[in-house]
Symmetry: C2
Subunit: 342 residues, 2 copies
Amino acid sequence: MRATIYDVAKKAGVGIGTVSRAINDSPRITSETKEKVLKAIRDLNYQPHAMAQSLARKKTNMIAAIVPFIRGYFYMEVVKGIQFEATQSNYDLLLYSVDEFDKTEEFLRKTLRERRVDGVLLISLQISDIKVKKFRNANVPIVLVDGFHPQLDSITVENQEGAYIATEHLIRQGHKKIAMIDAQLKSIPAKDRLFGYKKALKDARIIFQDKYLFISNLAIEKDGFNCEAGYEGMKRLLELGEDRPTAVFVSSDIQAAGAIKAIKEHGLRIPDDIAIVGFDDIELAEYLDLSTMHQPLFEMGRLAVRRLIDRMADKKLDVLQKQFSTHIVVRSSCGASARRIA
Amino acid sequence: MRATIYDVAKKAGVGIGTVSRAINDSPRITSETKEKVLKAIRDLNYQPHAMAQSLARKKTNMIAAIVPFIRGYFYMEVVKGIQFEATQSNYDLLLYSVDEFDKTEEFLRKTLRERRVDGVLLISLQISDIKVKKFRNANVPIVLVDGFHPQLDSITVENQEGAYIATEHLIRQGHKKIAMIDAQLKSIPAKDRLFGYKKALKDARIIFQDKYLFISNLAIEKDGFNCEAGYEGMKRLLELGEDRPTAVFVSSDIQAAGAIKAIKEHGLRIPDDIAIVGFDDIELAEYLDLSTMHQPLFEMGRLAVRRLIDRMADKKLDVLQKQFSTHIVVRSSCGASARRIA
DNA sequence: TTGAAAGCGCTAACAA
DNA sequence: TTGTTAGCGCTTTCAA
């Protein structure tokens, strides 16, 4: 059977309180007795029981990440960062995946009431004001990644600016007919990116045209940040025939992957016939030789964990609204690089 | 403050034992009192405290997945399946990531001694005989995915057969100079795939040649299942000049991505100059139009969880060594499909 | 500085 | 069928 704190106490000839103090680096213990206890611990191969500690301390040392994980590479790269930093910080990571956005609240409820975790990370997911209040009351901190709520810490990227840069880059290549394939506007990043796109057009005195904007269909595509939505969007744009755009800004790399597929199927070349700039800079972008707006996804995940831990330590911190800046990564798909795909 | 079982008991006018019975669907309670208790629970918005339950039940309702998660898309797709099934089965998933293979044992130790989880999933990772014994003694089940140990349940794919089919497919296209880019042979799948490759050559009376086999370097490439290793491998093969292979079987899709990059940089075309077949069939393969051997990664993850749960329920089950069969997914990279990349 | 004892919130054995 | 009570393995007062 596993050794418990009582076994250690008996072996070391002390009380269990003393053992506890030895384990937890309490100052209220002489180094002499501490050494004695530590020896007993070594001899018995003792390790504290995590659940018992959690119960007594009212602290679980676990954090939860609620992620639409099923949905693709983007989330994985964020989770990598989260995982990395959690391990560094000695926290265990509980991974909850929501496939439908609406189920988020259900997970939040579970999370909150079961008291399994000390803090929650919410990735690309919305949260209602009511839930925010409940979490506040329960004293369980939340940090948002790729999402926003005025009362919560959030880690995002400069979406408007990024979209602006992407579009501007296309404009500089001489394109006039620049389309955008966007995800559903209920997503804040999608909305912001549309805003940036429009602003860039406006600043360049290019008139925004409805026919050049494709927003993925609500019913079918979930939030629209997926390959199929990009494929579908490009299909529609190609149906414009002669009037089709010569360049497209796509609101995510994964959609861009779908768009590229559609373009190739149509027998057109990238970037010669249609130039593309994506958003996110997931690993896939490199393989596809896709120009895109870089998001430091791994770093965002890491920062989210650090912030969560800081907030767990001090609930009264000011709300942090960190926006990473973004920059364009030029590969061959936008027609600006010297190198072309063979 | 949170309602506890005592609050519920008082409110319902019963003992805490009765409340517990109501919660846990015990038969030793009348539906009448049960209803009374449930009402009190609803009124108080009560939810059992997971940690307290764990401690009392000696069961945490959590499982851990130890995964070289940092390493790429392959693992993510398995984790998706694990995550999905865990949620279905009402288990919480703890995600541990090892970046270096050698750290596995450290995580296993932690897992075992902290008693945080009821079972462990080990993905693509080795485990020593000593640890196997320790887990057996501690009564914590382990299931292996993409790995093998004679005394543990394992979920794998027919690696030898898969490699054989892939190579044979290339042979059928008329190729004679067929190379293989493999990962390090300390990985069992890598070893098995090499075996299948050699066997296919032999059966076709093609002499295996050392120069056509590239195995990623130990020091630099970790286990060798990564993009850089594939890139490096293809570079070497291209250095053969006129004597270079006309087809390559690559031991994973992610390596194939690197190989494709090298081929393109060299100014050669796929599949005309060099045909490629990968292994795994991760999502990326589709985007790259890469022919590959399909592994049902999501399904493997799901099955692993189900098996783990079954074994937690009955430790005396026979060891399961499930091998999924694999089939080739023909895309354009191997030169066999009607459709070609524009 | 130390030991004893009272929780932490639950389950389960036991008695009624 | 129910209530009571003794754990589960720790942390943390409170006395000494």
